[in-house]
């Protein structure tokens, strides 16, 4: 008999984040491709865009949700290689680690760019 002690919340969260992504990714794509003048934002436009705190919150939410969805997906795909229980635990630890690093990197990037932006705006202010 298989180890069936733990329930399958993975699929549940995969679906919930997936449905959430339809909204968040839709917003992300519209904001970056269909609204910005010239199709894509140059540096100045990115800075202006990120000066809106609501946008920053949405982008961070998108970052977290998309990373969870991607990591659960990668885990499911790797499990299909027919892994041993030990390898499965390693994959789980790996996706948690990579996911956490991804989110941290996103935080750092958003912070750096917003900070640069506010410094730049302060310098350029008359």
């Amino acid at each position: 008999m298989q180890n069936r002690k733990r329930s399958g919340w993975g699929w549940f969260w995969q679906s919930v984040t997936g449905v959430a992504l339809i909204g968040l990714l839709g917003l992300h794509m519209v904001a970056h491709h269909f609204v910005a003048a010239g199709g894509l934002r140059d540096y100045q436009q990115v800075i202006e865009y990120l000066s809106n705190p609501l946008i920053v919150v949405t982008e961070i939410a998108f970052l977290i949700v998309v990373t969870i969805h991607a990591m659960l997906g990668v885990r499911a795909l790797l499990f299909d290689l027919g892994l041993t229980a030990r390898a499965e635990r390693m994959v789980t630890a790996l996706v948690i680690g990579v996911g956490a690093l991804t989110i941290l990197f996103g935080f750092w990037l958003t912070y750096t760019v917003t900070m640069q932006g506010s410094m730049l705006t302060a310098l350029l202010a008359p």
């Binding site: 199709g39 140059d42 540096y43 027919g82 991804t102 990037l109 760019v113």
Partner: protein, 130 residues
């Protein structure tokens, strides 16, 4: 080649690529995997590219000029196609998994892919129009 021959057991990981029949549910399953892998790769390419933002306008703006070239915009259309296929088919998987539309999963797939196609055409026009 038969991947299920007992002497090929040590290559069992190759069964991952066994796409079997080409029935509708199987096609949806294959599309979902292929787009999933593409989108995960893109996520990391995207993050790597965005790192240029941290290096300031001297790094970012030349890139954006390339990214506004038509051949680069074609890649954006490809990305949009992946997102629409994965997202809308994913919606079907989520709905049926919660017991909604189970008996109608095939028409649901066809309908969602028509929505994807229409959205892709509209999106492509918008991307190229700027």
């Amino acid at each position: 080649m038969n991947l299920y021959r007992p002497d090929l057991k040590r290559f069992r990981f190759l069964r991952w690529f066994d796409f079997r029949s080409w029935r509708l549910g199987m096609i949806a399953y294959i599309l979902n995997r292929v787009t999933a892998i593409g989108l995960v790769l893109y996520l990391y390419i995207h993050l790597a590219v965005l790192t240029m933002l941290a290096q300031g306008p001297s790094s970012w703006d030349p890139f954006i000029r390339i990214a506004r070239a038509p051949w680069f915009l074609a890649l954006d259309v490809l990305l949009l196609a992946g997102m629409l296929i994965h997202g809308l088919n994913g919606l079907r998987i989520a709905l049926t998994g919660f017991g909604i539309g189970v008996r109608g999963q095939k028409p649901l797939f066809v309908a969602l892919m028509i929505v994807a196609a229409v959205a892709l055409i509209a999106g492509a026009l918008k991307i190229f129009a700027g």
